[in-house]
Symmetry: C2
Subunit: 149 residues, 2 copies
DNA sequence: TTGATTCGTAGTCGTGTTGGATACGAATTC
DNA sequence: GAATTCGTATCCAACACGACTACGAATCAA
């Protein structure tokens, strides 16, 4: 990785936190976008990944939107990570020269480093849940955002 | 993050592994570049980061180049990671809407997630050293690359 | 001293990624 | 039937990455 220029995980966590703050009716992508400072289309794309992982569900049409499929305390950040990260590498691997003995061998060993690091990230994120991200002000938020939408 | 498009860590590990395989005289950036499939200028930039961290030293001029400042088994991959990563975030944080209570609070909590994840990565990488990346074929490599250079 | 080598770094450029904007069909509710 | 919202495609600007060239400074060999 090095510089992380992709906000999908961050936006996904933000969206889930917001959804858990609004347990009543589903939240529209526009509402989420307004809170996360992202575009509604982007929010729908990211939440689409979470839906494929079974973390959220959506319903089109009037009064449609997005909602959690299970309690926030049962959704680990590792689940979110895997949903948006898929099999993408976390360390920026390069393709060394295959003909060079150092190149080919180090390439193989670095792949192992990549796997171990990915596991460490998932393990750490699995120790936290969306509920940990939901601020104490959630009830106020619900009252605040509902009429504004 | 998601897709990791930065190869600095990978190239740095490759370079250090190569340096540990050539304990005799210093290796030029051109030699490293040839093995890592990168440009000499890029190699110098990356190794420059490692030098700032005290992991390697360089000498300009004829028969100049790069060499390790301590045994490969005493250089952890965490050292390499910190040298190239610096304080760059590992998760792609976005800037939520500060005026929104969910936005501001989740932003603060996500920063904590970022810190914990960064620590987990460092901890995992600290459990491995450059020596673990140096293939068994190192002696052959030395004999192979020296005349070619 | 002269020439060759190598680092150090600045600048430019092509390529790929990211995410916003628009558009439009499908689904759903009133 | 009208309004809303998802789902998705497409286009575009901004940015990150790394190759490449260039050139001065440092070092060593002859």
């Amino acid at each position: 990785m090095s510089r992380a220029t992709n906000t999908q995980f961050s936006v996904a966590c933000h969206a889930l936190s917001l959804l858990s703050s609004l347990p009543g009716e589903p939240a529209s992508s526009e509402l989420v976008a307004g809170s996360a400072a992202a575009s509604p289309v982007y929010v729908r794309r990211v939440l689409g990944l979470l839906r494929r992982a079974g973390l959220v569900a959506s319903r089109p049409g009037a009064h449609g939107g997005w909602h959690l499929t299970r309690p926030a305390c049962e959704v680990s950040l590792g689940d979110v990570w895997r949903a948006v990260q898929g099999d993408e590498p976390v360390l920026g691997l390069h393709a060394p020269v295959a003909a060079c003995p150092v190149g080919s061998e180090v390439g193989r060993l670095m792949a192992e480093v990549e796997r171990r690091t990915a596991r460490a990230i998932e393990h750490e994120l699995d120790s936290m849940t969306v509920a940990d991200l939901t601020p104490a002000c959630a009830p106020f938020t619900a009252a605040m955002l509902s009429p504004a939408a």
